[in-house]
Amino acid sequence: MTKKLLSGNEAIALGAYEADCSAATGYPGTPSTEILENISKHYADKIYCEWSPNEKVAFEAAVGASTTGARAIVTMKHVGLNVAADPLMTLSYTGVAGGFIAVVADDPGMNSSQNEQDTRLFAHFAKVPVLEPSDSQEAKDFVKVGFEISEQFGTPVILRATTMVSHSRCVVEPGTLMALNRPHSFQRDPQRLVPIPAYARQMRVRLDERIERLQKAASVSSLNRIEWNESGDRGVGIVTSSSAYQYVKEVFPEANVLKLGWCYPFPDELMLAFADAVEQVVVVEELDNFVEHHMKALGIATIGKKIGDEKLVPNYGALDVDVLKKARKQLSENPATAKYFTAPTETPKAERPELPTLPNRPPVLCPGCPHRGLFYALKKFDVVVAGDIGCYSLAVAPPLNCMDTVLCMGGGFTVAHGIDCAKNDRPVVGVLGDSTFFHSGMTGLSDIVYNKGKSTLIVLDNRITAMTGHQENPGTGKTIMGEATYEAKIEDIAKALGMKNVVTISPNQLDHTTATLKTAIESDEPWLVVVKEPCPLAFRKKPDHRVRVNQEKCKKCGACLKFGCPAIELKGDKTVTVNETLCAACDVCMQICKFGAFESCDINSAKGGLA
């Protein structure tokens, strides 16, 4: 087989295919999104694939598939598991028939997330095994082993990826394709599948027995291995997992290593045997001290996040070689450990002159982004803006400064409602996107109508799940396979839930947008404003005209700069120009400028006196 360079996410998709998985579901979320995208693109001949409206739905659909004996996989980012926590917590009781894997991608360092969560703790909480690949090859292989563990013990399995594992490309050797040739047939078994209290109590006992059997299996599993120092030195033993393993191999090449690929249920026998064989145990793990705490509970004197009172390996953020080099230096200098560690090899430093100050280059709303027009209009009102997760979170940044709270998916409507219930001194506006409306915004809207709230609700319907890289959702009229399907109308859903005041606008008509917002905000009733305009990044269309600045009309007042469009550029002498390669010709700047300096020009026209 030819070796391939695959990202961890591509490898997980291939692993599902090789292991004859039958169903794959999920909700997009960085860094997990490309798993399902790859399955739908390359492996849909054998695997049913869907984007579900949220992670709970995706999880439950995969559970259903598994009850028939089919292998099923569900994918999400770490915060998605919070949404799917309800089915997870009971699935460990009812167990599974066909292999069931929840792939959960953590984001240490919060590259694209609102928090950090260590999903290993969730696995412990739910009493399910958790596997931790450290590169793409393992990511693929662990899917197959995960299905085997799942079926052998009748348990759901969590495959925990991280941003580093999901988004790094490594060399992968493809395996052979399995053909299970199983009948998919649901078997009635209420004592196992229906946790009414009388049955659930029995399930709880069986769950404990299962954990004990899993613990023994983990100790002898090939996923957990010891790499002994070849010279026979047994001074230091490092326990590590996930991509931390890769950094350990680079920074501590001489250490004995217990590499955990299956860390919970804890492989106690293996941990104790390793600790017995070495003089000093050190646990190197990203995020929480999950393994460290357990090893200490086993009575092993291990160093982990701290050495004495000194911080050693951070318990937040992503690790890397440089972080571990610093830790090695501390270990080599601390009297308690100095005899085991030499100082790390220092990289020679370059002598360089002082660098000029660099301007920040934060991610921004794209040129032509419909969110910008809405927030530009909204910021004229003295209101509290409660938002949620999406590109529009970027409206928090200057010059828009128009996002006051972000909590979680769907939280825009519900947090707004709470602010309204507390009789806040200013009106409140709740903002969601189209995908987050279907994810968990509908229930919030229902709450507001039901309990007679009066918040102004806005759905920024850009016809796609944009921030995660443009995935379909129930409102786009297409499935993940690109097939046409029913296109759910946000307006119809709101009306069905009892919302009387529903209006649809384009944010690129500024005056109309402002007038609509005024009516809604001043009203004693709740309003839903659907702001409908396609994402220009997903539905790129060539502008049919150009927008340029007539320098004779421009008063250099800077009003247009408060719009924050990347295509509007300020030169040193306060001259404003339009960058024609960036400009999407949405024309909102023409409506902002009181002096009419922005002019619409023929697409083929030369610049003339305009800039």
Binding site: D322, K349, P359
Partner: protein, 197 residues
């Protein structure tokens, strides 16, 4: 490079410039030359005009996909100021390949920050080993300014010990058929630029 050592390459730019394609070409060329390869790229919000960083490592056995600071043989930037943002990765004797293209960040266009005043002489003080190239202009001469990443790739390839066949094959494998010729031409223009620099 001795067989045991790992070669580190850092490619930077701004979302949408085609950095990821260049990264895939380097990785493919190294893989087909028999090396172990790992790469890492920033996803997610980078697409929205943010700064983009990709790292490529190859050698006999590569562990970390991330490059330790101060060890990159090459730091190549498709945008003038972005090279400075990631300077810490570059080894003291490493080569900086900097394209003269300027993409003004919104912090500058809105007047909140200023773009550094950098000319070739200024950059040369910071990067003693510098190939300062007009990648976009050269690509435009070939018929498509978007092939600037191909020019940059050619320039940075002069510092890497992968042979010509490996580069050609990798370009043919990674680039869409319609753009292979353009990218091959851009690659050799870039090589020539760096050799002159």
């Amino acid at each position: 490079m001795s067989a045991k050592e790992t070669t580190n390459v850092v490619l930077v730019g701004v979302g949408g410039q085609g950095i990821l394609l260049s990264s895939a070409i380097i990785a493919t060329a190294a893989l087909d030359s028999g090396y172990d390869v790992k790469t890492n790229e920033i996803h997610g919000m980078a697409q929205r005009g943010g700064s983009v960083l990709t790292q490529i490592r190859y050698g006999e056995k590569v562990y970390s996909p991330l490059i330790p600071k101060g060890t990159a043989s090459v730091l190549a930037s498709l945008e003038k100021s972005e090279a400075l943002r990631y300077i810490d990765y570059l080894a003291p004797d490493g080569l900086a390949v900097v394209s003269d293209q300027v993409i003004v960040p919104v912090t500058v266009s809105s007047g909140a920050a200023t773009y550094p005043d950098l000319d070739e002489a200024g950059l040369r003080k910071i990067f003693p080993r510098l190939a300062y190239i007009n990648a976009a202009e050269k690509a435009a001469e070939l018929g498509n300014a978007r092939a600037a990443n191909g020019v940059l790739l050619g320039s940075l390839s002069t510092k890497l010990d992968l042979d010509d066949d490996a580069w050609q094959n990798a370009i043919k494998k990674c680039v869409k058929p319609a753009f292979i010729d353009l990218n091959l031409k851009a690659f050799y223009v870039g090589r020539e630029l760096a050799q002159k620099a």
